[in-house]
Amino acid sequence: MEILGLWNYWMVIVLMMVGLYILIARDNLVKKMMGLNIFQVSVIMFWVSIAKVRGGTAPIIPEGAEDVVYSNPLPHVLMLTAIVVGVATTGLGLALIVRIYEAYSSIEEDTLREMDRASE
């Protein structure tokens, strides 16, 4: 049962592998970008899941309340930054893809490689 108890890690690993698989196996650059995003999201999920405290609430303490059990807010804040980094990476990656498409009229990696070889 211990293995099932760690289901959050299993989910993270599955997502991570899906992301990496897409990243490696797909030739289409936009799909690669999607794979990269899924990979990053899996890590964000990992961080958020380790912040959870069983029975904990959101880390906002109502006035006058004492002994409130709340989840660790720090990983959430850090992941906010990681999400922003992810957005910036995606934006830049897609911008490069647009320019690659304009230069090569293709975004399939093997086609790009053939065109590079032909021009050499």
């Binding site: 934006g91 911008a95 647009v98």
Partner: protein, 147 residues
């Protein structure tokens, strides 16, 4: 970008509903922005929500109309200004004798008030930059004519 935009503009329902929604989206963006210091929210989310209202306008009325409302130059300047507001708060606290980004010194009488003010200003900087950069990304992609 241009042709679907023309079609979209002719659709009555889309036009009326988007016109109805845009003020509320903007208002919600401002709510998230200015509640970010005490409640959940803040500049990142607010900036994106705020920019989303402009995206909706751009999608329905076309990029040209949107750029008449928010010119490219304005986006570029606010992109830079937002970062400068953030870093400027840090430098201000430095000049007032604290460490970099030590908001407590912003109000010499009340450290708590200083903290509040600092977070508010920093979140404002974040909000401005995020919404401007979202718009910049939108402009960069949507404004590119197919070669």
């Amino acid at each position: 970008m241009k042709i679907p935009a023309m079609r979209m503009r002719e659709k009555l329902v889309v036009r009326v509903v988007s016109r109805f929604f845009i003020p509320f989206i903007l208002l919600f963006g401002l709510y998230v922005q200015f509640h970010g210091d005490y409640g959940p929210g803040g500049g990142f989310q607010a900036g994106v929500i705020f920019a989303a209202a402009f995206f909706l306008y751009g999608l329905v009325y076309g990029l040209d109309d949107l750029q008449r409302v928010v010119p490219w130059r304005f986006v570029e300047v606010s992109l830079a200004l937002g970062v400068l507001i953030y870093a400027g708060v840090g430098v201000a606290s430095l000049l007032l004798g604290g460490n970099y980004l030590d908001y407590k010194v912003l109000d010499p009488h009340d450290a708590k008030h200083g903290l509040h003010l600092g977070i508010l200003l920093v979140e404002l900087g974040v909000g401005v930059t995020v919404s401007a950069s979202m718009l910049a990304i939108f402009y960069a992609f949507a404004g590119r004519r197919a070669a």
